[in-house]
Symmetry: C2
């Protein structure tokens, strides 16, 4: 990841105090936000998810204008070098550690904001679809943390470490009880007839912002899905807030042609949000 | 926590690069080691657990002489200010992040070593026993991470946040299937007749170093324990590698008098390891 600029609590910084609980316990949250021609995409939705996560962890969420000021400062830092497509990563930690696991009521949460180059993208992924695999790692079930984008991500790291082949773009994750959850860094949608389904995330997984868009605007429905339902899908795709919708072309031995349902959703997303109009934008 | 000195990869440092995966994902491990009159207690056992955790995470563990050099440097840094009882906290992270969750094979793991004041201790805890409670939070089951002291500790943070009363020293944790696991920062032992039992940690929990001592040297046996077995115990105690053995005097409405079994173990531990001979040492 190429870092263009970084701020901690509003000030230019590239280093974190060793006493931060984000390092000690993963005691915090993060968001990765697409910055398209200087405009953050789904900004309010990202801050909303972080605020919900902060409530769940009992961390006082900063006011949104503080993050807004960080964003403006990062763009100033970048100046003319700001690429048309970039990523803003926000991290909120509980601040410095006082006495072991016990949160210190007096601790001041720490805001970290980092401007990074956008990840590599291939137009072929959207046109031809991507190849995915099943991960062996099974996600544990923790209703107190499910849905939030917290800093405890070892399960995703272990799952992503299962393959190296560049031909495989993502891995699908199941819970320990067999229910399908998501990919390692994307949500999963299943087209079954005229229904658009996505796994419930009340026990495991991260509730993505692009997923939220499809739930609100495309009639998608949350449900329990098992492996067989995924293999039997008419169409499959992944979503994330940096890449939008990525059709799945291959999963293990099964392959899918370009699906009309997914194509229509890619067009609808591009119409609603210019950052995802990859055809026009390049 | 009062920090006396800190080193990163052998050099004096108090700040961590923001790009470290320990912050981003909790992608690493830690150990907190009692330093008694300049001597690390159970040093080999702590490094052994960290090496096992590093194997599980696919992180190249540093050679033990590197940690040994860090420890010597920290003691030099402290000089005459080194207290008779201190704590060395070691953190091993996967190093800097390259491309999301995927571990970068070229990443160089980062060693962090910190010398801290020992936590507050009360001789009454060992003499009269401590008061503990049941935590509401249920631990999730993840066999790939269970037993290791990794940096994903939000469950422990949430559990420890359940109470503030200074009269309660610890909280007991159950898995989501009801099995008893440990306290938030200590292992649990149950005396049942002439048997010494401690929960299995193959699905959740941290396999403590003092626990390992009692398994190897005091005939303790790992088993599945439920809440009823804990309440029915003849004696109960906690262990951790900074405090040794702490008898439990109260759990909810139930209380226990000083137990002969626990007292004998406290004496045996003190005989084996002078750092835990609190009577003679003060």
């Amino acid at each position: 990841v190429r870092v263009i600029a970084a701020r901690i609590d509003g000030l230019p910084a590239s280093m974190l105090p060793l006493s931060d609980r984000g390092l000690a316990y993963g005691d915090g949250l993060f968001e990765t936000i697409l910055l398209h021609r200087g405009r953050p995409v789904w900004w309010a939705e990202h801050l909303d998810r972080m605020a919900a996560g902060a409530r769940a962890l009992g961390i006082a969420a900063p006011a949104s204008h503080a993050w807004q000021a960080d964003l403006a400062a990062l763009c100033d830092d970048a100046g003319a070098t700001l690429p048309p497509r970039a990523v803003v990563k926000l991290i909120l930690t509980r601040g410095d550690s006082a006495r072991g696991y016990a949160p210190d009521a007096a601790a001041v949460p720490r805001r970290i904001a980092r401007l990074q180059a956008a990840p590599a993208d291939d137009p072929g992924w959207r046109r031809d679809g991507i190849a995915v695999r099943w991960c062996d790692l099974r996600l544990s079930r923790q209703p107190r943390l499910a849905g939030f984008k917290h800093l405890n991500r070892l399960e995703q790291v272990l799952a992503r470490a299962e393959w190296n082949a560049p031909a495989i773009q993502e891995g699908l994750l199941r819970r320990d009880d067999g229910a399908v959850v998501s990919a390692t860094a994307a949500n999963l949608f299943v087209v079954a007839g005229d229904r658009l389904l996505t796994p419930r995330l009340d026990l495991a997984g991260v509730a993505g912002i692009c997923r939220r868009f499809l739930l609100a605007r495309a009639g998608a429905v949350e449900c329990e899905l098992d492996e067989a339902a995924v293999h039997a899908a008419d169409e499959l795709f992944l979503t994330n807030s940096l890449r939008g919708i990525l059709p799945i072309a291959r999963l293990g031995n099964r392959s899918w042609p370009r699906g009309p349902f997914t194509r229509a959703l890619i067009e609808r997303l591009a119409a609603a949000e210019p950052a995802f109009d990859f055809e026009t934008d390049r």
